[in-house]
Symmetry: C2
Subunit: 121 residues, 2 copies
């Protein structure tokens, strides 16, 4: 945020702000042990192709770690937020909170005024 | 939102969710009489070209009305939210509120639980 452009919302990182990726990150933030591809697919209503594409973008940006393993004989891929990903997503959520406050006509929130429930667990 | 895909965030209308358009709409919602192109440019830190392009998308979608007039001899273009635009933006903000609540691990809010400060003025 700059004083000159209070509505520019520079903190809305485009990697995170995209709707499908926002779904994925919101799903992952409440699951510290990660989620399987199948769980993410159904939580976010994404197709295999879309989920893979968006997870690749998040992985490339260092926000999400992907672990390929097996469950019995079947391949089992899980995704989890990285520590950096968690921090960047929290920063993004703080900026989103500022969008809501600005839209409601309230003064801008500084990060320290954001409710504790949005701090990393 | 569907029960099966709680994190799909279907209410995040892509026309509104794009970062520059979100800036423009947030600027306009607190200015019922509208804003000039120059005011929007500086509030949102957008170039002439980007502002024109994004305002055209919002106008096309019926969210924003553009009025071309003169101030003295100089052309003076103003933008304002349409009533439908105001309603759709409020719906979007309610969904954004749900993203924040979900990310914080709180139960989903129904529109009726959203603070009154986000209702149209």
């Amino acid at each position: 945020m700059t004083a000159d452009a209070p509505f520019a919302f520079d903190g809305l990182d485009r990697v995170i702000h995209e709707k499908a990726r926002l779904s994925i990150l919101t799903s992952l933030i409440s699951h510290a042990d990660g989620l399987s591809f199948n769980e993410l697919k159904s939580l976010c209503a994404l197709t295999d192709g879309n989920l893979s594409r968006h997870v690749a973008v998040l992985q490339e940006a260092g926000l999400v770690a992907v672990t390929k393993g097996f469950e019995g004989n079947r391949p089992h891929t899980t995704c989890a937020l990285t520590p950096a990903g968690r921090q960047k997503f929290m920063d993004y959520l703080n900026e989103l909170e500022r969008v809501l406050k600005n839209a409601a006509g309230a003064p801008s929130a500084s990060p320290s005024t954001v409710p504790g429930s949005l701090k990393p667990a």
